[in-house]
Structure formats: C-alpha cells, structure tokens
C-alpha cells in the first residue's frame, strides 16, 4: 500500500468523476501538504444530552429513542463551539469527499490540536467509494476547554492506493450514504452484536 504524495494527490484531484478524487471545496492550496490534505471543521455537531438518558444499550434501545440522547447543533461560521474536558462531540469535515474505487484514506487529527488534548478521529479508515462528509469523534482529553471554530483546519487525510480496484465500491446497503453532516452511531444496526448481547438473548 503506497501513500499518495503531493503531486499524485493533485493529479487525482484533477481527474474527472467517477475515477477522480473529490475533496470539495478546497479553500486554499496550502491545504495540500507533502502527503496529505488538511480538512476543515464543518459547522454541525452532535452533542449528548446526558440528562435525558440513563444507560445506552446498543442492541435493545429502539433507534427512534436514540434521538432523545443526541442534540444537533449548528454553529455559524465565525462563531465558536467549546469542547470541555472529558466531553465527546461528533463533528464533521467541511469538505465533502468522494473516494474512487481504487483509493482508501486515513483520517488523522492534526498534531497542533492533539497537543491541546484534542482527539479528533478514532474511526480513521475510510473505504474506497465513500462519498460524504467525514464524521469526526471530537473529544477533549486535556484539562482546559478548547474553542473550535468551524472552518479551521482540523484533520489530515492520507490517501493510499487500494489494489485491485473494487468493482462495486461502497455499493449495496451501507450504513452511511452521502452524509452532509455528522452521523450518529448506528451500532444498533449490527445484527451480529445482538447474538452476543444478553439484552436480546432470551436464553440468558
């Protein structure tokens, strides 16, 4: 697996759809680094309403009631979102990304933010064929609140060739299709998890 470098990233960005790489909009050419593209923070967030929900049971909580525990926030560009110590919020990239069927990518937080205690992405691998904004799992592991502004460069994408090319990349029934905002966990859709869950296992 080889990592795409600056020239190759630019070449892929210039290719037409569906074989080309799309990261849109790239507001500044400085976003393209030696072997990565910096992506910006979008303005939608999902925060958790801890006071309305007790225990989250992944395999027995009805999907509809999951809405009770999450609250969507939209922060205008120019305003701030404050992430307090110990807090987890789902954010997203401002850029919409389309990966061709022969490219996968890794999302990494920028070290400048990491040094402030900000963890940005934990589910870092994006499969070939993905289209949408990327959900970021933002958590503040530090001891001081951090102010985040939509539009700031928050993470980096590293691209790798996927060989051989996948025929129906990201096709079929997928959990997250063309999202334009952060997506809440759909762990409840995991059928195999239920096999091991005493919550749904009648014999237990």
């Amino acid at each position: 697996m080889s990592t795409l470098t600056h020239a190759e990233i630019e070449k892929r960005l210039c290719e037409d759809l569906p074989s080309g790489l799309v990261v849109t909009p790239i507001l500044s050419k400085n976003q393209i680094g030696d072997a990565s593209i910096d992506v910006r923070l979008g303005n939608q967030f999902i925060v958790f309403r801890m006071h309305t929900f007790g225990l989250f049971r992944p395999y027995s909580t009805p999907p509809a009631s999951l809405r009770i525990m999450q609250e969507r926030q939209v922060i205008k560009f120019g305003k701030e979102f404050v992430l307090h110590p110990g807090m987890l919020a789902l954010g997203c990239t401002f850029e919409y990304i389309c990966l061709p069927s022969n490219l996968e990518c890794q999302v990494e937080g920028r070290s400048s933010w990491a040094r402030l205690g900000l963890q940005i992405a934990t589910a870092t691998s994006v499969e070939p064929g993905f289209k949408g904004v990327l959900t970021l799992e933002l958590s503040n592991l530090g001891t001081i609140p951090v102010e985040l502004h939509p539009g700031v460069r928050i993470a980096q994408l590293f691209f790798h060739d996927a060989k051989p090319k996948i025929a129906d990349a990201y096709g079929g029934i997928r959990k997250y299709k063309c999202p334009v905002g952060p997506q809440f966990s759909r762990i409840t859709d995991d059928k195999d998890g239920k096999v091991f869950s005493h919550e749904t296992n009648e014999d237990s």
Partner: protein, 487 residues
C-alpha cells in the same frame, strides 16, 4: 350586598388604572421575550436578533412612557404591543432547526445583492402551504411610534441604534417543504414583492388615472345591457353605486394582478427557468384558470405561467454559443430533458381557458385589458428597480458548460458547489446550483422510471443544500484565505 358607590369613584379611571399596570407588565414581558430571542444564538443569520432588538427597544420605550401616555391613547398602545408581540413568532420560528439553514446565509446574501446591503431577511416556515413576504418592519414600527406624539421618534431611533436605517422583511415558506430547496426558487418571486410595491406606490395611480374613464364607460355599458331590478326612480342611484363598486373592483384586480405578475417577472429575471419550474410545480395541485374574483384577486396560474414562459423564451429556443473558443450547442444532451419539459409549458399556455375565464366578467376583463396592453412597459420599469440583475436576466443557455458540470457532480452523488477542476475551481452561483438541480431532477424523472422515491429526493436536497452552504463559505472566506497564501 351592594356597596355604596364612593362619590369620587369613576369607572373610566378605575379601568384606566387596571390597563396601565397591565400594559406595564405586557411591555416588560415582550421586552424579556425579545431579549431571550436576541441572545438565543441558534439562528442561521443575525437578522432574527436584529428584529428581536427592534421589538425589545420598541416595547421598552412604550413601557417607559406609560406614565405620560394620555388615557385615551392607552388602547392604541395596547394594540401596538399586541402587534409587536405577534412578530416574535417570526423570530422564534426562524431557528436553525426549523429552516433549511445551510442555504439561508447564501440566500440572504443573494437577496441583499438585489435589495440593498441594508435590507435584511428572516426566513421562517409556516404551516400554511404558501410562500409570502411580510414587512417592512422598521418602517411599520417607525410609523406607529410616530403617531404616539408623547414619545420622541428621535429617542426611539437612538434606542434602536443603527437599525433605524435598516429594512427587515420576513419570507415564509411552507413547513412541509423545508428541505425542498428546489421549490425555494420561489424566493425569487418573494423578493419581487419589494420591487412590486415600489412600482405600485410610484406608478399605479398614474396608470389608473389614464385608464379610468375608459373603464368607467365600459362598466356603464355593461350595466346598461341588463335592466336593473328596481323602480325607475332609483335606477340612477343604483347604477351609480354599481358602477363605482365595479370600477373599484377592477382597480383592485388590476393592482393585485400586476403585483403578482411583477413578482413572477423578478423571479424569472433572477433565477431563470428554475423560477418557472418552481411555479409550475407549486401550481400543480391548484386550479389554473380560476378567476381572480374567486382567488383573492390573484391572477390565474395559467396566465402567470404564460408570462413567465414568455420571459424565458430565449431559454426555450436552441442556441449555439461560443465558450472558450468552443462551439457549444444548447440545450445539449444534459439539459435536453429539462428543456423538453419546459417547452411543454408552451402547450399549457396555448390553451386560453384562463383568458376565457377573465373575459367572462366585466371586472376581470377590464382589469386584464389594461394589464395586457401595458405589460411590457410595466415589466421593464419594474426590472430597472432591481439593483443588480436589472439589465441582464439569468439565461440558462448562457450557462451550458457550467450547468453540465454541476449536473455531472449530482450524477455522482457530489454537491454541485464548484465550477472547474482543481486548482482552477471557483464557487458556483446560487442561480446555477438551483438550475442544475432542476435539470438533474427532471432528467432523472424522465429517463429513469425507478428514480423519484423519497430517498432520491432527500439525497438531492441534501447535496444541493450542502452545495449552497459550501459556495457561500467558499465565496465569503476563500478570497481571504487566498490573500494569506500570497503573504
């Protein structure tokens, strides 16, 4: 046991004292509610906070002057407080969660370009299935406060700070269509109401004076055709009343008709075929030949569509354009399904059922005789009142390559927010995004019988909404970032 009435007791004074403290509480409550909304922060733009501020200061000044308010004016203060309290609902409903928030900033920027930078818009949903424009609020408040002679208008203007020079309007859209950004091309029509009002205020009386005698004679002749069902002694009086009443109705039909037709003309001027498509879709469940007398004086939809088709005439013809030294044929394969669909409106407007409906009654016949005779001149005058697009209308045939690119993006589940390939890319315009979305939608409906389930529409709306937001951010912040690159 009834108490003996005190000789000094006065019913008026007793009720006045109740009203005075009640109004104090009402003014304070409105002020508090407005403050809460002003600082709520969950609005897509700053305009709702501006209207909150206007309401807060107006309630405050009314409350502060209650001790000096003349007793006979308390009822007017009450009326004014109740009216401004009702306006709080526009603000409350315009929160991010209730609106297609991602297109609001871009849309307001687009609307301000046409109406002036000191004109602000609140966009809010309403449960009634309609689009409309309400306002202008600052002037309405100014007029109301000015009529209260014990309050200094200068004090009020000082209290609202810079807002005195602003104009604030509220555009409403049907709640059930919140995410249907393609239908929101109707917002072009709504901004037209500002232009239409200006045209009506400045020109309608003159137009009416030049036509009134002829209309009066026509109405008289029509009334003379049938004997009046009264004794001869009263015939002249009844005839005069009937003539005056019918001439007045002709004026109302003409005024309302012109207002709506000017709005349609502005919508098409700004957004081209997307505005026509939105009007066609919006009118689909309605009777299109209904007389204005049965529809609150509104023109028949077929009549409106006919004039919009006429305004889009050039987009319904074939063209060959030069585009970067290349000959580009319009409509071309991408736009053709939408173009064919639009051209079918010419069949719709060949049917003259609306004209028959208008001619069946002297009131509508006379009103539309004036409209028809003067329409081209009126339209030109109205378009000149637009700040930005007054000379050059939006033409789809001039945008072939850009539209093709944007549709191509939608075909690959990508937001249509950019023109050109990296690094020579630039944000698409709102006009092009909306027209590309219509081209894509009609193309899909016509070419793929399976396309058109709710998921398909939702995905299209999502991508278009994302595109409008991305192009707003790109055009607002992109140039600042570019200047940093050069440092």
């Amino acid at each position: 046991m009834p108490q003996t009435m005190s000789p000094t007791w006065s019913e008026d004074k007793w009720r006045e004292s109740i009203l005075r403290y009640q109004l104090r509480v009402k003014a304070d409550t409105i002020e508090r509610l407005a403050t809460k909304l002003e600082h709520a922060g969950d609005f897509p733009t700053d305009t709702p906070a501006k209207l909150s501020k206007l309401i807060r200061h107006s309630a405050q000044i009314l409350g502060e002057h209650l001790p000096t308010t003349p007793p006979d004016q308390l009822i007017n203060v009450n009326f004014l407080l109740c009216s401004i309290a009702e306006h709080l609902r526009f603000i409350d409903r315009s929160r991010i969660a209730n609106t297609p928030w991602s297109m609001i900033q871009g849309t307001e920027k687009f609307l301000k370009r046409q109406a002036g930078s000191s004109t602000d818009f609140i966009i809010r949903p309403q449960w009634k299935y309609n689009y409309n424009l309400i306002g202008e609020f600052v002037e309405v408040y100014r007029t109301s406060i000015r009529s209260l002679t014990w309050i200094s208008i200068a004090d009020w203007e000082t209290s609202i700070e810079g807002l005195a020079q602003h104009k604030i309007y509220c555009i409403s859209f049907p709640r059930v269509e919140r995410l249907n950004c393609l239908l929101h091309a109707n917002w072009g029509h709504e901004i037209g109401h500002i232009i239409a009002k200006e045209w009506i205020d400045n020109n309608f009386d003159q137009l009416w004076q030049s036509e009134e005698t002829q209309i009066l004679n026509s109405v008289k002749r029509e009334i003379d055709k049938n004997p009046l069902p009264v004794v001869p002694l009263f015939q002249d009086i009844l005839k005069q009343e009937m003539v005056a009443d019918q001439v007045n109705k002709v004026m109302q039909v003409a005024k309302q008709g012109l207002t709506e037709l000017i709005c349609d003309a502005i919508g098409v001027q700004l957004l081209g075929p997307a505005a026509l498509a939105a009007a066609i879709e919006f009118s689909a469940p309605l009777s299109i030949d209904e007389s204005p007398l049965n529809r609150d004086m509104y023109p028949p939809w077929r009549y409106r569509i006919r004039l919009m088709v006429e305004a889009c005439k050039q987009d319904l013809e074939e063209h060959t354009q030069k585009y970067e030294a290349e000959e580009v044929h319009y409509p071309g394969p991408t736009i053709k399904p939408f173009w064919d669909w639009l051209r079918e409106t010419t069949y719709l407007v060949q049917n003259k059922a609306d004209i028959a409906s208008l001619n069946s009654n002297i009131i509508t016949r006379e009103a539309y005789k004036v409209i028809c005779a003067k329409w081209q001149q009126i339209r030109q005058q109205a378009l000149r009142l637009l700040l930005y697009n007054s000379e050059e209308p939006y033409h789809l045939f001039e945008q072939v390559r850009d539209i093709e690119q944007l549709v191509h993006k939608l075909e690959h589940d990508t937001p249509p927010n950019e023109i050109g390939q990296w690094p020579k890319n630039s944000p698409a315009s709102l006009e092009n995004i909306l027209n590309a979305a219509w081209v894509f939608k009609i193309g899909r409906i016509r070419q793929d019988p399976k396309w058109g389930v709710t998921d398909d529409f939702e995905k299209l709306f999502r991508l278009v909404l994302k595109a409008t937001e991305a192009c707003f951010v790109h055009s607002t912040f992109g140039s600042k970032l570019k200047s940093l690159e050069q440092q």
